[in-house]
C-alpha cells in the first residue's frame, strides 16, 4: 500500500516536474528566482541534500559489506541502491543549475584542480562508479564478496571526502563570514551520516520484508539517528552562538535571517520541530522506538528537516549584501537580495524527487535488493 501511494505521488511529482524541465530547457534560467546576488538557490540546496543522502547511504552500506555487523547483514544492497538513486538526483539538481550544462565535459578536459568544485566533479564520477560496481558485485556476483571490501573501503573514503567537499565548496569563500568556518567541512560528513541513518530508517521501516532482527535494527538505527540529531543540534549551537557572540555584522545578519527572518518557519518548524525534536522524542519513546511504520515516518521527517537545513546553510549567507548599498544601486531582474524559489524551480525539484522516488521503488520491485540470492537464482 505504501509503495502504491508513493508510486502515485512520484508520478504526479514527475508530471509536474516535466513542466519545470520543459521551462528550464526552453527559457533557460530566465524564470528562476535566484540571481546575481542570491547566486545559488533551491537546486543547489537540493544538490547538497541529495549528495548528503547518497554519501550517507553508502556509509550505512559499509555496516554490511565492510564492517560486517551481523545485525545489519542483508541491508547493504538497499543502501547501495539508495546511494545509486540519490547521487544522480543530486547531480541532476546541480546540473540544471549550470548556465551551460552541456559544457560539463570541460571539467574533465580542462579541470582546475585547485577548485573544490572540479575536485567534486571528479570525485562524484569515481564515487558513482564505485557505487555501481559495488551494487553489481553484491547482486550479480555474491560469491565474489571479497571484491566488495576494497570497493567499500575506497567508497567510504570517497563518501567522507565528498561530504567534506560539499562543506568546503561553501567554506572556502573567505568573504562569506557565515560559511567561512573551518568546522563546516568537518560538519558535513556527520550530516551525511545522519542523512544515511535516516534513509536507512525509512527503508527498513517501510520497505524491508519482515525479519526477526527488524525490531532490533530499527531500535539501533533510531538511537543512531537520535545521537546524530543531538550532534547536529550541538553544531547549530556552536555556529550560531559564536556568530552572535562575535558580533561580526555579516555573520549576525545571516544567523538572524535564519532565526527570525522571513523564513523563520523553515528553521523552527521544519528543521527543528519536525526534523529534529519530534524524531528524537518518538524514537526514544518506548512505545514507538521499535515500530516500523513510525520509524519510517521519523526517517522521512529527518530527511525533510535536512532539506530545510541545507537551504538554511545556502541562502542566508547570500542574502546579506557584500556592500549594503548594493540593495539600491542598480535595478533589474535577478538583482535582489530576497529569495524564494520560483514555481519553475519548485517544479524541477519536485520532479527530480518524484523521479528518484519512482526509480528507487522500481529497483525495490525489480532488483533482488532484499533477497540474499542473485537475481537469476531467485527467478
Amino acid at each position: 500500500m505504501t509503495k502504491k501511494i508513493l508510486y502515485a505521488l512520484g508520478g504526479v511529482a514527475l508530471v509536474f516536474g516535466t513542466w519545470g524541465f520543459f521551462d528550464r530547457f526552453v527559457a533557460g534560467h530566465a524564470n528562476a528566482n535566484y540571481g546575481s546576488y542570491v547566486v545559488w538557490g533551491l537546486w543547489v540546496a537540493m544538490y547538497l541534500f541529495f549528495a548528503g543522502v547518497a554519501a550517507g547511504s553508502f556509509m550505512m552500506s559499509t555496516l554490511d559489506y565492510l564492517f560486517e555487523v551481523p545485525l545489519f547483514k542483508g541491508t547493504g544492497r538497499a543502501m547501495l541502491w539508495a546511494a545509486l538513486i540519490t547521487l544522480p538526483a543530486a547531480l541532476t539538481s546541480i546540473g540544471l543549475d549550470l548556465g551551460h550544462m552541456e559544457r560539463i565535459y570541460k571539467v574533465y578536459m580542462r579541470p582546475n584542480f585547485f577548485s573544490v568544485m572540479a575536485q567534486m566533479v571528479w570525485g562524484y564520477t569515481i564515487f558513482g562508479g564505485i557505487i555501481l560496481a559495488s551494487l553489481v558485485v553484491a547482486i550479480r556476483f555474491p560469491e565474489r564478496k571479497k571484491w566488495l571490501k576494497p570497493l567499500m573501503a575506497f567508497g567510504l573514503l570517497f563518501s567522507v571526502f565528498l561530504s567534506g567537499g560539499v562543506g568546503a565548496l561553501l567554506g572556502v569563500n573567505a568573504s562569506r563570514a557565515y560559511w567561512h568556518v573551518g568546522l563546516l567541512p568537518a560538519q558535513f560528513p556527520v550530516f551525511s551520516l545522519a542523512s544515511g541513518a535516516a534513509m536507512m530508517l525509512l527503508i527498513m521501516g517501510w520497505f524491508a520484508p519482515p525479519d526477526t532482527r527488524r525490531s532490533q535494527q530499527i531500535r539501533v538505527l533510531g538511537l543512531l539517528t537520535v545521537s546524530l540529531a543531538v550532534v547536529k543540534l550541538y553544531f547549530l549551537w556552536t555556529d550560531f552562538s559564536q556568530s552572535l557572540y562575535g558580533q561580526i555584522p555579516h555573520n549576525v545578519d545571516a544567523v538572524n535571517q535564519v532565526l527570525f527572518g522571513r523564513y523563520w518557519w523553515a528553521f523552527w518548524i521544519i528543521q527543528i520541530a519536525l526534523g529534529t525534536v519530534l524524531p528524537i522524542i518518538l524514537l526514544l519513546h518506548p512505545k514507538f522506538a521499535r515500530h516500523s511504520v513510525v520509524a519510517g515516518w521519523m526517517g522521512l521527517l529527518v530527511l525533510f528537516g535536512f532539506t530545510a537545513a541545507r537551504a538554511n546553510i545556502v541562502f542566508p549567507a547570500l542574502t546579506v549584501p557584500e556592500l549594503e548599498e548594493l540593495r539600491w544601486a542598480f535595478s533589474g531582474p535577478h538583482l535582489t537580495f530576497d529569495y524564494f524559489p520560483s514555481l519553475m524551480e519548485w517544479a524541477v525539484t519536485i520532479g527530480i524527487t518524484g523521479g528518484a522516488t519512482i526509480a528507487f521503488l522500481l529497483g525495490l520491485d525489480r532488483l533482488p535488493i532484499f533477497s540474499s540470492q542473485p537475481r537469476e537464482v531467485t527467478q
Binding site: 530566465a30 548556465g99 566533479v121 569563500n173
Partner: protein, 315 residues
C-alpha cells in the same frame, strides 16, 4: 571677481568662441569631432590638427588658454589617452592597468554605468559598474556619497581559484577576464567575489513581454534587433542568441579591454563628466594614475581581505 580677472575671463570667452569658429571652419577637425572615440584614439593627431587649424588664423588662438603641447594636454582625458598610447607600446606584461576613482569629484550621475551598459550591450540584470549611493549625516548636516564599483581586478582574486574549468583568470595585463566559451555557468566565482562584481546573464531582453510594433521603431520588432546586435567584449564579435554565450555565463567588468586594444580609454572613464574616473598604466611613473595612487588619501575596498584591488579610490 576682480576687474583684471573679468577681463581675462572675457578674453578667454572671446578667444574660445573664435577658436571654436576657427575649428568649425576646418572640415577635417570638424569631422573628427563628430566621433569622440575616433578623436580620442589619436590625441597627438588631434592636437596637431587643432594647431594646424588654428594656425591658419593666428589671432584666434593667440590667447588660447590651454597649452596644446601633447606633453601637457589641457584635459586629463587627453593626458590619459596619450599615456594609454605610451603604455600600448610596451609588452602587455609590463603594463599595470589601474583605475582611480576620485570620490570627491563623483556627482552620482551614473553616466559611467550607462556608458558601460551601452558599450557592452548589457541586458537587464547585468551590470558591471553600479554606483552605490549613501546618505551620510543627520539634518542639517546631510550629504550623499557616491561610490562607482567596477570589478576590482584584484591581484589576488578569490574568484579565480574556485573556477572548476579555468574559465576566469588573470590575463597577462593583470585584468581578470572570463572566457565565455569555457565558462559552464556554475557561478562559484560569484559567491567567491567579496565585491559582488559579477553578474549572471539570464538571457533576458529589454523588450521581453513588450507589445509588437510592426513597422515602427517601438516594441519588439523595432527594438529587439538592436538588442541582438553583437557585443565586442574581449575583442570578439558575439551575437546574443538564446542558449549561447554570453547568455548563461558570468559576466563582469574587464576594463574595456576591447577598447584598450584599439587605443581607446574604457567607456566609463571617457564618459565621466566630472573626470572622477582615471585610468592608466601604474607601471608608468609619469602617468596620472601612478601620481594619484601615491597620494596619502587613497584607499581600496575591503583591503583587509588581502585581495589587492587595482581599483583605487581618492577620498
Amino acid at each position: 571677481m576682480t576687474q583684471s580677472e573679468e577681463q581675462k575671463e572675457r578674453s578667454y570667452s572671446s578667444t574660445r568662441r573664435d577658436f571654436l569658429r576657427a575649428l568649425l571652419g576646418v572640415g577635417g577637425a570638424a569631422a573628427a569631432l563628430a566621433s569622440m572615440d575616433r578623436l580620442m584614439a589619436n590625441p597627438e593627431a588631434i592636437l596637431e590638427a587643432i594647431n594646424r587649424a588654428t594656425g591658419d588664423q593666428a589671432t584666434a588662438v593667440a590667447d588660447f588658454p590651454f597649452a596644446l603641447d601633447p606633453t601637457d594636454p589641457p584635459d586629463v582625458l587627453l593626458r590619459m589617452q596619450i599615456e594609454l598610447h605610451r603604455a600600448l607600446q610596451k609588452r602587455p606584461e609590463e603594463r599595470r592597468w589601474v583605475m582611480v576613482i576620485d570620490l570627491r569629484k563623483c556627482v552620482g550621475c551614473h553616466a559611467c554605468t550607462i556608458a558601460c551598459v551601452a558599450e557592452n550591450r548589457l541586458p537587464p540584470g547585468v551590470v558591471y559598474r553600479p554606483v552605490l549611493e549613501q546618505e551620510v549625516g543627520t539634518f542639517p548636516n546631510v550629504t550623499r556619497t557616491f561610490l562607482p564599483k567596477p570589478c576590482m581586478q584584484c591581484d589576488n582574486p578569490p574568484c579565480v581559484p574556485v573556477c572548476p574549468v579555468t574559465a576566469t583568470y588573470t590575463n597577462e595585463e593583470g585584468v581578470v577576464v572570463v572566457d565565455y566559451d569555457q565558462c559552464i555557468g556554475c557561478r562559484a566565482c560569484m559567491t567567491a567575489c567579496p565585491y559582488a562584481s559579477r553578474t549572471f546573464d539570464f538571457g533576458i531582453q529589454y523588450v521581453d513581454n513588450t507589445p509588437m510594433g510592426n513597422g515602427t521603431l517601438l516594441g519588439q520588432s523595432g527594438v529587439a534587433p538592436m538588442e541582438l546586435l553583437p557585443v565586442f567584449e574581449y575583442g570578439r564579435s558575439r551575437e546574443r542568441v538564446p542558449h549561447h554565450s554570453p547568455i548563461g555565463n558570468v559576466r563582469k567588468c574587464h576594463f574595456c579591454l576591447h577598447r584598450i586594444k584599439e587605443g581607446m580609454l574604457p567607456a566609463c572613464t571617457l564618459t565621466c563628466i566630472g573626470r572622477a574616473t582615471l585610468f592608466g598604466d601604474a607601471n608608468d611613473p609619469e602617468s596620472l594614475v601612478a601620481e594619484m595612487i601615491a597620494s596619502p588619501n587613497v584607499m581600496r575596498l575591503k583591503e583587509e581581505l588581502g585581495t589587492e584591488p587595482r581599483v583605487y579610490y581618492l577620498v
